[in-house]
Amino acid sequence: MSEKKAKLARQFIGAIPHSRALEMRIDDVLAGRATLSLPYNERFIGDPETGVLHGGVVTALLDTAMGTAVVSHPQSMGGTATIDLRIDYMRAATPGQRITARAECYRVTRSVAFVRATAYDEGEEPVASAAGAFTVEGSRP
């Protein structure tokens, strides 16, 4: 069952054009937890002086990781959409490094999934953290 969910989650992200455009990769997904990453790319720079990636790239990665965590959750029956998302940017991502987002769907009700996520570059300290509410589809009678 969990392997089926994981496969579904992989298909979920593989079919998303924007995730492909940002070269996102699923590193790990299992039962409400997902780890996704993307490479450093000069086209994603937000600060030309330092070469630091744009916050929007980190937002897109966090959002996708969180959505993947939702669809991989045992209580989720189908797709999902973001209702609300808050991102805190703690520090600039180091230029040249891969960005990895780890998301956890920690609570699912009949209609809403609650998710948190953290983004890292190749260092120890987090780059950004996120909290969000997502739709739960197909489970409501």
Partner: protein, 159 residues
């Protein structure tokens, strides 16, 4: 008495300053975000393209792309308001951008596969911090499909 500047000179100077602010940032160009200006009022446009889709079945725009678009609209509006007096005084060249501290996005309806527009308002701009609200719509200005509020760290300014 000093003659006012010819209108074309003013327009050209303002448009050039805005273009530099926006196009200096590679990610703005990657997403395809463009800005229209009327006086000092800005409207951001995210022209639709397939690479922005997050749900190919509906289809709907990716929440991350929408969030990034709103963040760009908010950041450029804030920078524009900070540097407007300098641009009006004839200053040119690259400018340090405000940095996002946090950004909260409210997804009101799914983004349709067509162009999206956004306008931001600087609600508070202090010496160190600023708070910016941004609204986005598609076909109907009255029906927002997303809105966001973000806090920014003001760029250090010489002098």
């Amino acid at each position: 008495m000093k003659q006012p500047e010819p209108v074309q000179v003013i327009k050209q100077r303002r448009d050039a300053a805005l273009a530099q602010l926006v196009d200096d940032i590679p990610y703005n160009q990657f997403l395809g975000v463009v800005f229209e200006r009327r006086g000092d009022e800005l409207t951001a446009t995210l022209p639709y393209n397939e690479a922005l889709v997050g749900n190919p079945i509906l289809p709907a725009l990716h929440g991350g792309a929408v969030g990034a678009f709103l963040e760009i609209a908010a950041q450029i509006e804030l920078a524009w308001s900070i540097y407007w007096p300098q641009f009006e005084a004839g200053a040119t060249g690259p400018r340090a951008m405000p940095k996002t501290i946090d950004f909260t996005i409210d997804y009101l309806r799914s983004g349709l596969p067509r162009d999206a527009y956004a306008r931001a308002v600087v609600n508070r701009s202090g010496r160190r911090y600023a708070s910016v609200h941004v609204e986005a719509w598609q076909d109907n200005r009255q029906k927002l499909f997303a809105q966001a509020t973000g806090h920014f760290l003001m760029p250090r300014q010489e002098g």
